[in-house]
Symmetry: C2
Subunit: 415 residues, 2 copies
């Protein structure tokens, strides 16, 4: 009996270790392909801004593709998170191409969106299909889906430890479980490794300011803590606007297919005439010389006082209308730009507060403060680690229990 169960244990370990490696490799392949396409789409749009006028039609095409081919794909990240928690709804294979091309189309025609949703859904679909083919039981399937989330996140941003911690932290608010830990670590490391080998380059960010451990340190730590209340509120506002616009759309428009068309038209009006083209697409690099961007937000003058709000508005209008891509890169933009604005107000080095905002708004909107602290380390180095932790945990604590992933349960209430 003892020997039999040890054999079973070894067999299970072998299955999980091999499958988590396979999930990592396959996710990396799809995500590298996705990132290459996305890069090309962004570059093409930036030299052909008139594509923006087709955004409503692009939205309508995405809507139709999900309507006729998608099954339950439109549940997106929430479906993957639910499955990773042990739910047994089927994840359709078609989710992968739909979200991949839906995101590229969104960006090509100037929608304001991210890419982590796409990556998590790619990793999740790969994991779900492998579980199906191998006829895994519910427990192993849920572990493999966590691996898929980690692999996707890791590959798309080049941050393997963040992907790993995110995959454990995102399922439930205020709690973390280690059941899937070693396997998700393997999937995340392998996905990042292969993505780099396939020639993907990730944007490098730099915080060059370093704060000596004296009275100034305490003063800056306090200011970062106060600014992070603002980051938390921005994260809350993001979730709130997403819900609000969804309600408004479905109230004023009689048919569901009109929503992406209407949302597209609003983005055209904002982007072409009212606000500017800075906030179309991903926003990592400037859309035109002198535009606000994430990279720019780390320097004085690289983003403007209200850039954070415009990006928040563009993105929530885009995503709630059914465009694809996810929220995280726009959250980085909102945080870095708000950090840039607040740095001047609080007299803190701009690159430091932009970096803290980058991760803290994301922590607030997704309820994953530890993964975001890790992201600070992986992107900016460990020198300012205490400020990253202050930013992420304060923002997390001040953002309430809502968040962009409605399938998260509350494990531990924040107050």
């Amino acid at each position: 009996m003892q020997i039999f169960s040890f054999k079973k244990f070894l067999k299970e370990q072998f299955i999980l270790l091999s499958l988590s490696a396979i999930v990592g490799i396959l996710s990396a392949l799809f995500i590298a392909f996705f990132l290459k396409l996305l890069e090309a789409a962004t570059a093409y749009r930036n030299s052909h801004f008139q594509l923006l006028f087709l955004l409503p039609i692009a939205g309508w095409v995405i809507y139709l593709s999900y309507q006729y081919l998608g099954k339950n794909s439109s549940k997106g990240n929430n479906l993957i998170i639910k499955e990773a928690k042990g739910n047994q709804e089927s994840v359709p294979a078609v989710m992968l191409p739909l979200v991949l091309f839906g995101t590229v189309i969104t960006h090509l025609f100037g929608g304001s969106a991210g890419r982590e949703g796409t990556a998590v859904q790619i990793g999740g679909t790969v994991a779900a299909k492998i579980s199906e083919w191998c006829k895994l039981n519910q427990q192993l399937r849920s572990i493999l889906l966590i691996c898929g989330i980690g692999a996707g996140f890791s590959a798309v941003f080049g941050t393997p430890l963040t992907g790993f911690v995110f995959s454990l932290e995102v399922l439930v608010i205020g709690k973390m479980e280690y059941k899937a830990a070693p396997y998700s670590l393997i999937a995340s490391l392998i996905a990042n490794y292969f993505c780099l080998q396939l020639g993907i380059h990730h944007t490098k960010y730099f915080i060059t300011s370093s704060i000596p451990m004296n009275g100034e340190w305490i003063s800056i730590a306090l200011k970062v803590g106060i600014a992070s209340i603002g980051f938390g509120l921005a994260g809350y506002l993001f979730s709130y606007f997403i819900e609000l616009f969804k309600k408004i759309y479905s109230k004023i428009l009689p048919k569901a297919w009109m929503i992406p068309i209407f949302g597209g038209i609003i983005i055209i009006i904002l982007g072409q005439w009212l606000v500017g083209k800075d906030y179309l697409g991903l926003g990592v690099d400037p859309n035109y010389p002198g535009a606000a961007s994430i990279v720019g937000a780390f320097h004085a003058g690289g983003s403007f006082t209200w850039s954070w709000f415009w990006k928040l508005l563009f993105t929530t209008i885009t995503l709630s209308a059914g465009f694809k891509g996810g929220e995280v890169t726009p959250l980085f933009f909102i945080g870095a730009a708000l950090g840039n604005t607040l740095a001047t107000l609080f007299n803190i080095p701009i690159d430091l507060l932009a970096g803290v905002g980058f991760i803290a708004v994301f922590a607030a909107a997704t309820n994953t403060p530890l993964a975001c602290t890790m992201m600070g380390i992986e992107l900016f180095g460990a020198a300012n680690l205490p400020f990253f932790a202050i930013g992420c945990f304060v923002a997390y604590y001040c953002s309430g229990h809502s968040g962009i992933y409605t399938s998260q349960n509350i494990g531990i209430a924040k107050n």
Copy 2:
């Protein structure tokens, strides 16, 4: 009603924020004093090795002090962990001086022990007494005790984020809760800050090897993973020996007061004649020129093939006989020395595997893989982060459900 509960919420926040800062400051004061004493005791012993012959008497004095003054103090870390989980046993104020001087005496006379247990008990006693004076309810008291654990750990090693994560992670195996997160972060940051301001210097460790992201990286990652099974087993062996020696002592010795005397005599025999003086005391720096040490283990020839085993033996004999100080620094020694030994075998850079072993054996014995990964970052920088995570999670996973803190519950079984 709404307004009233918001007022209550603000009041609670104000109380918790102020008290966590006070816990941080007071813990730092006591721990800085403790570290200064410990440094002096270690230096004095290293120039007066004949003090070793008084170790049995020192053990007997520690035993008597706990017997007549200690109340339930001898439960040590386990008492603090239980209280942080919401238990309502009283933590006696006398625990603080007893463990502080008990540890200094242990080191002065050549016992092999650590210092984190002392620090956690100092932080925990401070937090418990403040809770009592302020008549906090059970929920706030448990949050404040978690702050005490974080502050103690943070100050004693100069690693605030590790202290913070450790305080959340140590309570339950395989789970982590964020209830106390913002307060423990504050207590840990403040404790570290004040300890540094009080002139405490922490030993600096360096991993200079850096591994490029190519085929070599994969090969080293695999080797680190395999070596970490060894780190996990060493962590397991440590907990096993502690329990084993306790059983043996109480079986062969008719009276409890004989145990520290007997344990002391064994250490004299091993240290004076059989093995050597390398493994007496803390072991961070060499006890004499050419001795094995933690700092030495990062270089070829700075520790010997079986150094890890001797340190494990010395420490488990010392601690299970009732000497004070805690386990973590010896676990660092065991891990770094085992890493040094295995690095030659596996052809991995010595400093890298010594660093991974340093944190991984600790992760295995305390079931806190994330805190240990964070320690890798805080002590050695983020460049080798993936290897730190592999080491800590593999070792954690391979160490079984036992651990040095018997008051941990199993939240999520490892298999």
